[in-house]
């Protein structure tokens, strides 16, 4: 079952102005529930625009974004159609009915923000509270939860993301960049979103900081069964962490499928100028020199197996 479905979605920036630019061009795509989906593509390929559509931060110029089969952009007509046959609605005066519908639209929008959690690029710049605890609690507080429930959510989110309990009473501004990033991620996870969308979550972090973030995301996804979307430039990271991969190019979806399937078309990916994993370059070069190795290799482990087979086991004739 698709958790999210984009139905013929287009998004145009500055429509009707000289700067008009199509960011998404008739995209139709389903995103599997309970999986990590990586979205890769060049800057300007439409991947960041796509993620902003998922929780209604931006509305598509045309087409629909469906979450569990329902359009995320509730319109007046949507609510009216759903309500018009209800006696409670029919009893309302015209102005009261309008007001009720507007309130309902606002309620649904707010709910959507809790269901689809968005972690922007460099989210640590969005920390603002006096203590780490209060910053993580901000989301749950806005959901109107009780103090106990908020506390439980904060501690749970902190555990997922590797936020040390010692930090909770500290100012977030006394933490290092990598630590702040984890606090910001915890702030979104504390809302327990069904869908977690992240834009370049590891940008600018050192290797350890990057592993903390990705391991935290993976843990959250596994234990809660949520659907996760990660926008990234790094095919190396996506090869390690995602189940499915979407490749965007020129405002369209170029490829979509399980990680192995997409990365097996590595030559095409390289042709559109994506930064293919270094290990794949090594294998491609060996292949070009006439050695019987597979080029469809994008992790170090797979390359080790392939070369071990050639160098130790066989005389290299049994490449499949």
């Amino acid at each position: 079952m698709d958790k999210i479905y984009l139905e013929n979605v287009s998004y145009i920036y500055g429509e009707g102005t000289p700067f008009e630019q199509t960011a998404l061009d008739g995209v139709s795509i389903g995103i599997r529930a309970g999986c990590i989906t990586g979205i890769i593509g060049h800057t300007g390929s439409g991947k960041s625009t796509m993620m902003q559509l998922l929780n209604g931060l931006a509305a598509p110029t045309s087409g629909k974004v469906l979450l569990d089969g329902y359009d995320v952009n509730t319109t007046f007509e949507d609510v009216f159609d759903a309500w018009k046959s209800l006696p409670e609605y029919q009893n309302l005066s015209k102005s009261a009915a309008k007001k009720a519908i507007r309130t309902e639209i606002r309620r649904r929008r707010k709910e959507l923000c809790f269901r689809v959690g968005l972690v922007m690029q460099y989210p640590e710049y969005q920390l603002f509270e006096e203590t780490v605890y209060r910053d993580i609690a901000f989301g749950p507080q806005n959901m109107g939860l009780s103090e106990e429930e908020i506390r439980a959510r904060v501690l749970e989110a902190a555990a997922f993301t590797g936020v040390d309990t010692d930090w909770l009473e500290k100012s977030p501004f006394d933490l290092s960049g990598g630590q702040k990033r984890r606090v910001a991620l915890a702030g979104v996870i504390a809302m327990r979103p069904e869908v977690l969308v992240l834009d370049e979550p590891a940008a600018g972090l050192d290797p350890r900081g990057r592993d903390y973030i990705f391991d935290g995301i993976k843990r959250y996804q596994r234990e809660t069964g949520s659907t996760v979307l990660i926008v990234s430039h790094s095919m190396e990271d996506m090869a390690r962490y995602s189940d499915d991969v979407i490749v965007m190019a020129n405002a369209k979806v170029l490829m979509h499928g399980p990680c192995e399937e997409v990365f097996s078309r590595i030559r095409e990916l390289s042709d559109i100028g994506l930064d293919i994993p270094q290990i794949t370059r090594v294998m491609t070069m060996l292949k070009e020199q006439g050695f019987p190795v597979s080029e469809e290799i994008y992790t170090v482990d797979a390359a080790v197996e392939e070369l071990y087979r050639l160098l130790v086991k066989g005389k290299g004739g049994n490449a499949t």
Binding site: T43, S176, P207, V282, M285, F291, L310, G316
Partner: protein, 290 residues
């Protein structure tokens, strides 16, 4: 080896709390030499002291102990005069992480002229310097563009041009590619290599990317305010366990060689840092088999 451009001995620096009471040592006695015309990468996890070290080199921060000599100028043990400080900053330029924080003017060439103009460089030399600097980073056709409309990589190249126009001896890149996409990163790295090779500028590149560090002549690895190791990329990336222990890693191609060797495969050679070197090494072994 040629002349040492930067000479640090027992270099220390401590940050102070806002109330000035507590001290947090960031550098605990760094001794290192960086030579004229060298391309050095500095690796280390967040908080290892690598950025602090960089900020001491042109006195954005003042050392709290030890000796530091830059370009023959003794920086420690005395008050620097304004003239000395100016000369130092002209010689040692710095490019920071965020491309949006470093541009001041509304037109590319005005931005590049900002530094030399403030140094009092007269016309027509100023114009020539600006043109040359913009050409050096490959942005000539953008000289009259607005910087804020450029891509991240292009903005960083403009920031670099602004420093080149001051004719520095040494440029420090403090995670200057961290916020860029793969294309932008490549643009900046190509520029760095060109400045080092063709202009003889001493380059210090502080980075989190192992692949980037592999391009340098030499790597200095920092941990906990000290130099943990230094050597050529091949020498440094041969010490995989030590690097992993301090939160770093080796490039994928080096990891491949390490793993094959761990499993008992005999691979002769030391070139493990770049795909090209690694392919050469594997090729020899594969040929020997067949």
């Amino acid at each position: 080896m040629s002349n040492s451009y930067i000479h640090a001995e027992g270099l220390c620096f401590s940050y102070r709390d806002n109330d000035g009471k507590e001290e947090h040592p960031a550098l605990k006695g760094v001794s290192v030499d960086i030579y004229e015309g060298e391309y050095v990468a500095v690796l280390g996890h967040n908080g290892s002291g690598k950025s602090t070290f960089a900020k001491l080199l042109n006195m954005i921060l003042e050392p709290t102990g030890g000796t530091l000599v830059v370009g023959g100028m003794e920086l420690t043990g005395k008050e620097l005069t304004d003239d000395e400080l100016l000369q130092l900053r002209r010689n040692v330029g710095m490019v920071f992480q965020n491309p949006d924080n470093q541009l001041v003017a509304t037109i590319v060439e005005e931005d590049v002229a900002f530094g030399p103009e403030n140094l009092g460089v007269p016309q027509p030399e100023l114009r020539k310097r600006v043109e040359d600097a913009i050409a050096a980073v490959g942005m000539t056709s953008y000289a009259h563009h607005e910087p804020h409309r450029l891509s991240g990589g292009q903005k960083q190249r403009i920031a670099i041009a602004g420093i080149i126009a001051m004719m520095p001896k040494c440029i420090i890149f403090d995670e200057s590619t961290a916020m860029l996409d793969p294309n932008g990163r490549k643009e900046v790295l190509d520029t760095i290599r060109l400045l080092n090779r063709d202009y003889g500028i001493t380059v210090i590149n502080i980075t989190h990317y192992m692949n980037e560090a592999a391009e340098a002549d030499r790597i200095i690895v920092m941990n906990d305010g000290l130099v943990l190791m230094e050597g050529t990329p091949d020498e440094v990336f041969a010490k995989r366990e030590e690097l992993v222990a301090v939160g770093l890693e080796v490039p994928q191609c080096a990891a491949l060689i390490h793993e094959l060797r761990r499993r008992g495969v005999l691979l002769e050679g030391t070139g493990i840092s770049t795909p090209e070197a690694c392919v050469e090494l594997l090729q020899r072994a594969l040929k020997a088999r067949t």
